[in-house]
Subunit: 496 residues, 2 copies
């Protein structure tokens, strides 16, 4: 048991935040390194969270008229060449398939068969605009074919130099929406609608408050007219981009020569959007909510919401306690009020189980022993605050429902307060440089600089323009970098 307890130990956040993050991923069994450069294995505990994210988002996409499809994972190199900005954004670090066969050499080694070289190398998709717009050329002829509202759930590969499970990996899972519209206004409305859907999902299900806004020139998607983003703050006061939505204008319809016959009989280029959200959300959950005791999962996205831990010493007690847990299990299953499991493992002490389920982030724990049963009570323990609540047996179901809702709201509020406390307004660049060095955080400043200015700020402070937040635009002021008058405010922060 001592060994096991050691294996569960987590580095404290104030000791080493990066190490703490990796410990949570590992000890809560969310993911593990695969031994293949930058690729993670998403373990059942982590994947169950992704499944809940998928189900919820997929429902929201379908409610807004989108359907799913599937496009090949391989994209010929020539497709990338069609859009210059796009190729420079994605061709640099990607997995390239060059051969289609292995061979067994005479010495018994397995190597690539040099006789099986492809005539054109294939890139493992880093994003699918090019292959999808290549197909849309056949799908779009008339205004009657528009809009096309498609989404794809897929694996994606970007050969990142520095990786970190969930936050930045060579392979990750995501969804990518790709739509085509007759007018620029429709495309803009779609891009904004999808950002709004992401914001609603992330705030209401993940309990993560975000800043929604537009990306600056330097940070937008290669080939986009506008990129919209939602950004949140980690506990070490850095930024994480949670989801993005792009108004791609006619960049891809022109690159792939897609035209449609309008109702008026003219040939027109359709307008595009794309939007995506990834397994990075699981890493964001950790960085926003979790603590030194382990993972903290908001109830609405938790695959398991309540864990029951029976407490007994003698066999007679065990039988009585387990019988009551079984009754409750049947009751909760029938009413579908929340998901519930009982930890019946015989070889572990209640104390070990408490730690184990706290580490795994289960929102609420139900403890019952013979004394509780005699008193007609039970104990509920909140994962977020550690608070113990004595509840009458008769009130269990309603109390659990209330507490789960309360945990959901509390997590959101706590994160929001933290975000507000670490959101600073600065007027001068010197002030910004000093403060971000001293206490990190998000910095709102009037800014009208160009890409070069952004690059210099990044070099000097390691901070980037995270977004032009919709909600924080107000009047005009002097740009903190160029000194020119502007009405544009930008959030700067160091980011993951």
């Amino acid at each position: 048991m001592a060994e096991k307890a050691d294996a569960l130990k987590i580095t404290r956040r104030d000791e080493d935040y990066s190490r703490w993050y990796l410990d949570i991923v590992d000890r809560a069994k969310l993911a593990e390194d695969s031994g293949i450069r930058g690729c993670m294995i998403i373990r059942p505990e982590g994947f169950a969270i992704w499944e809940k994210m998928q189900q919820t988002l997929d429902g929201m996409f379908k409610d807004t008229g989108h359907t799913n499809a599937y496009f090949p994972v391989f994209i010929p190199v020539s497709y990338f060449s069609k859009e210059a900005e796009h190729v420079s954004g994605f061709a640099k670090e990607c997995a390239v398939v060059t051969h289609h066969r292995l061979q067994l050499t005479e010495s018994g080694e397995i190597t690539v068969d040099p006789d099986a070289e492809l005539s054109e190398p294939l890139v493992v998709r880093p994003t699918s605009e090019t292959i999808i717009w290549s197909a849309y050329r056949n799908w779009i002829q008339s205004y009657r074919d528009l809009p096309i509202l498609l989404n794809q759930w897929a694996n994606i590969c970007r050969w990142e130099l520095r990786t970190r499970p969930f936050l930045r990996t060579t392979e990750f899972l995501w969804q990518e929406g790709h739509t085509a519209h007759a007018t620029a206004d429709e495309a803009e409305a779609e891009a904004r609608q999808m950002l709004e859907i992401y914001k609603t999902f992330v705030e209401q299900y993940l309990a993560i408050p975000v800043f929604a806004g537009r990306k600056t020139e330097n940070e937008k998607f290669p080939g986009a007219v506008h990129t919209y983003t939602i950004e949140t703050m980690t506990q070490d006061k850095r930024a994480i981009q949670v989801g993005t939505s792009h108004n791609l204008g006619t960049t891809f319809s022109k690159a792939f020569d897609v035209k449609y016959l309008s109702a008026e009989g003219t040939q027109e280029y359709p307008f595009a959007t794309s939007w995506g959200i990834t397994t990075r959300m699981i890493g964001t959950l950790i960085m926003v909510h979790s603590d030194d005791r382990g993972f903290v999962c908001p109830p609405r996205i938790a695959p398991l919401q309540v864990i029951g831990v029976p407490i007994y010493r003698k066999d007679a007690e065990k039988e009585q306690v387990l019988a009551r847990f079984t009754e409750l299990q049947e009751q909760f299953k029938a009413t579908k009020a929340f998901s519930f499991k009982v930890d019946t493992r015989d070889n572990l002490s209640p104390g070990f189980k408490f730690n184990d389920w706290e580490l795994k982030g289960i929102p609420l724990r139900l403890e019952m022993g013979p004394r509780d049963l005699a008193n007609g009570t039970a104990v509920l323990v909140r994962r977020d605050t550690g608070e113990k609540i004595n509840v009458a047996q008769t009130d269990l179901e309603s109390q659990i429902k209330t507490l789960l809702e309360d945990i959901q709201i509390s997590l959101f509020k706590r994160a929001q307060e933290f975000q507000q406390q670490n959101l600073h307004f600065v007027e001068t660049y010197a002030e910004f440089q000093q403060q971000i060095e001293e206490k990190a955080g998000f910095y709102v400043a009037y800014f009208d600089g160009n890409s070069d200015d952004e690059e210099k700020i990044k070099e000097e402070t390691k901070a980037t323009g995270r977004c032009i937040p919709f909600d924080l635009q107000q009047g005009t002021g002097k740009c903190f970098y160029t000194g020119r008058q502007t009405d544009r405010r930008v959030i700067f922060a160091r980011a993951y």
Copy 2:
């Protein structure tokens, strides 16, 4: 309109069965060629079927205690070398990633960057036993860690020489279960249980009757002790393997040195299974149920079950008819009895719409015009038989439910009768050779030949041993190839 009608024309089955198949895939918009060798695009109409398959099967897997996880798409070449049979089965035709960067040459071309060669090439997964068992080495230490019951939904790549949409493609989608057990009996029971789940799903949802059985030595999975399979018959009387389940014994635990400490304190190798079913099922649906008018989709797997086609000439009629359709749409949505849509396209005639939805395989069509409304009736048209049924407006919902059930059962029965009619029992090899040449079909024969014999039979007749069917074993007889006495009967057929 004439042009459109031409574009929808389908080759007759008796004219060219292969062309007919491709026409259905194309005209029903299930999938299309991507332009990338052997890779298809699964269009929304096709993908919606896959989603229903996924949801149903995923529920069945979870009900039997399985959970989902996700392992990397890239497998180092060295992993394959660990299991000799497995490498010879899969390394021959696979996509190999050798580089991680493209470069822009001085002449403006984009090519593979020779400086970005990987130290070890990566194979795009053709199946995941090796990478999963490499992870299980860390997951399995004690008998308490067993069983592991995992499943993964993923894309798979096999560099096939001849491809055909859904049936054989370079990239396809599937699920792969990978389990680990303490005993050989448990693994065997798991492999059999999963085959039974596949059979239930395919028969009850896809209305496809199958023969379940064990694969012969020649046809089993590379590295398996036993491979179990379900096989069905196409309309051109060939075999399609619909799903397989493998008892892998200790092949992979030994190859990856995975051991566990038993309750008795000894070190043991765990026993493995794997099982998979793929997007090939969509091709099988076509080959079993569809006809010269297009795709036929069994109601229980059809994303859209009933299509409404309003019939009107004047604007006043249109308003009245559409109002009734809207009422029905709300009624059916509220009762969730079945999925229903109304074709309100204004630029197309009812006749065109009838053909269009028949082509797309929607099980039932609801036609209503002003005369029907005046009479308090409506017309239902079955996709499977073309039968028109006059129904009272008041009975619509219950009649539709009954008819959908009846279509489901009829499709199964029709396929089953066809299968029985084309299942032949043969005693001599000469008889078999003559008959399979004359009329194709499935041939049951006593057979105790070895792998070499199977190879010879394949060369001589293009037929392979499809399975040793559970339900057709009976007594003993003389092997139709070796002449030796045996109690094993095998189904031989030409296969897709």
